[in-house]
Amino acid sequence: MSTDPGIWLAAILTLCIFSFLYKDNPFYKFVEHLSVGVSAGYWLVIIIRQSLKQTFLDPLIQGQWQLVPGKLGIFLLIFPAFMGILLFTRFSNKWAYIARYPIAMLWGIGVGASIPLSLQNYIIRQLQATMVPITFNSWEDVGSLFIAIGVITGLVYFYFSKEHKGAFGGAAKVGIWILMIGFGSTFGFTVMARVSLLIGRVIFLMKDWLGIIS
């Protein structure tokens, strides 16, 4: 059995969470609230220490921003902080709309390059991967044909401008079948990874904590 207080703490917390499987109980509630507090505190520290101090305060105190030198740099550094402060106008009824400016900026930057990026990664690349010559020289070609048909019928299923009727409906139906085979396989495939995590925890309890297996 372990003599490390850290291992004991971790083991007790682990058991508290497993108790949730039986039903909601004070032990789980305790761990739930503890984890929320600790993780929120963790992120607060990381954000203040790194985002605020390293990327904002340090260059400001030095009066020099490496990315953009000179006064312009300092302005470009203070500007987002000013926008951030505007978020607090939300607490006033009269000025609440000002908080939209920073949000608009977050949306704009966040959405940023998503148009070309999603078209490139989700359309162009996938299309190219599907577009292979099919000459029936090998069994793999049958698979490639199947993938091409699956992609087409799947897209038909996601087509919203036409009701799923007739031949079109038939294609959509094949599409949903293929989607379901895909979902089933993903589900089945994931079981192993999840069980591995459980084995990891059980081994932690039995080996690191209790020492009953070697």
């Binding site: 929320v36 993780s39 929120a40 930057i109 299309l127 897209l155």
Partner: protein, 393 residues
């Protein structure tokens, strides 16, 4: 002596005559003479970069395997033909036959040679060359064209819709379930839980979730049903509060809006999940909405919600998580359906128009795919396949 192609054979002969005996004498352990010559094929400004880099390409030597192979190449540089060539980089021997030399001053002229490390064998002189930043990434041309096409298509349909053009969109399954679920919660006098996922506020899945939240909040304002929105990211909380507040205002019930029901929990996946599980088991919402970006916690939330007896409607564009929602929830908006549902619910002709553009896009993809496969299979041409080449490096 070196200023004419005519003299080259003489130089060559001379070098053989002079170098060979020297090599033979130097002999012992040194295998220089057995190393193939090095030739720089091309030296140029590194394409598609931000500048300050030069690319050097050489002919890959084939080594005689019975002799020691050098550990690497050295790259030599000079400011002018008259100055000395100094070694600036070491490239280990490997598969590569090109190298990007970084941290070069833009616009300054250089000449290059390469040689085997620890030997005297060096290549021809290549240059002059200057580094500079590029204004268009040629590897992304396809992406650029597709982006322009898609934007033009969407704008065209938007203009059509604005002029009052009719746009038909089929009913999307699971959409009616949203209103039914809210109705049921109201009847039971229980709250509604809306989880906007783990994405940032500007993730498209989260944005779609906000639009659906807008729809839901308008109904809950009308029915005076309590709505709980626990948030993973602080920005998501801020936007969700704005969305709900605006919806309550729209519905004429700003008095019912409660900021504290839309709250931040923590920005760590599993503590967040633990807390949302707690809400489901203690506040007992009658309807759970999981809309947005979800990862491994999807199944944990959906299973706990099921145990708590709630009607559950999920939607995510995260392909790996869809199966778990399908298994554990009553309705699942799969992938694009999430975006479509948000457009459909808003009944805004502008939003429906973009949905229409997506459909055109799909039709285009299908047609292009069929053409590409047929051309490649029947005519053996990979023209359409190459057309889709994207090189982001």
């Amino acid at each position: 002596m070196l200023d004419g192609i005519k003299n080259l054979p003489i130089v060559f002969l001379l070098s053989i005559i002079i170098i060979f005996p020297i090599q033979a004498i130097a002999g012992e352990g040194q295998t220089k003479s057995k190393l193939p010559n090095l030739t720089i094929e091309k030296v140029m400004d590194t394409p598609n970069d931000h500048g300050r880099s030069i690319t050097i390409i050489w002919k890959k030597p084939s080594f005689d395997s019975s002799f020691a192979i050098p550990t690497g190449y050295k790259i030599l540089r000079a400011d002018s033909l008259r100055s000395n060539f100094d070694s600036v980089e070491f490239v280990p021997i490997g598969k590569s036959k090109s190298f990007d030399i970084q941290n070069i001053e833009d616009g300054k002229t250089y000449y290059y040679r390469i040689g085997y490390a620890n030997t005297e064998i060096i290549s021809n002189i290549a240059g002059p060359v200057q580094a500079k930043g590029n204004w268009f990434h040629t590897g992304k041309t396809t992406t650029f064209v597709v982006t322009i096409l898609f934007c033009a298509l969407t704008l065209g349909i938007l203009i059509f819709a604005r002029r009052g053009g009719e746009l038909y969109i089929r009913p999307i399954s699971g959409i009616n379930a949203i209103d039914d679920a809210i109705g049921r919660a109201t009847e039971m006098g229980k709250p509604i839980l809306f989880v906007p996922g783990l994405g940032a506020a500007s993730d498209v899945a989260t944005i779609a979730a906000f639009t659906i939240l807008e729809h839901i909040a308008k109904i809950t304002a009308e029915y005076k049903t309590r709505i709980i929105v626990p948030c993973y990211a602080p920005e998501t909380m801020i936007v969700a509060q704005e969305v709900v507040r605006a919806s309550y205002l729209d519905a004429g019930r700003p008095d019912l809006y409660n900021d504290k029901e839309i709250f931040f929990i923590t920005q760590e996946q599993f503590p967040y999940t633990a807390a949302v599980n707690g809400i489901m088991l203690r506040d007992r919402p009658a309807a759970n909405f999981f809309l947005g970006k979800f990862y491994a916690e999807s199944l944990m939330l959906a299973e706990t919600g099921f145990e708590a007896g709630a009607i559950q409607i999920a939607g995510t564009d995260e392909a790996i998580q869809i199966p778990f929602f399908v298994a554990a929830c009553d309705y699942t908006l799969m992938g694009e359906e999430l975006y479509a549902a948000s457009a459909y619910l808003s009944k805004d002709p502008m939003k429906l128009a973009t949905l229409k553009a997506e459909d055109w896009g799909k039709a285009g993809v299908i047609i292009f795919l069929i053409i590409g496969v047929v051309v490649a299979s029947v005519f053996g041409s990979d023209f359409f396949i190459r057309l889709l080449d994207v090189n982001v490096m």
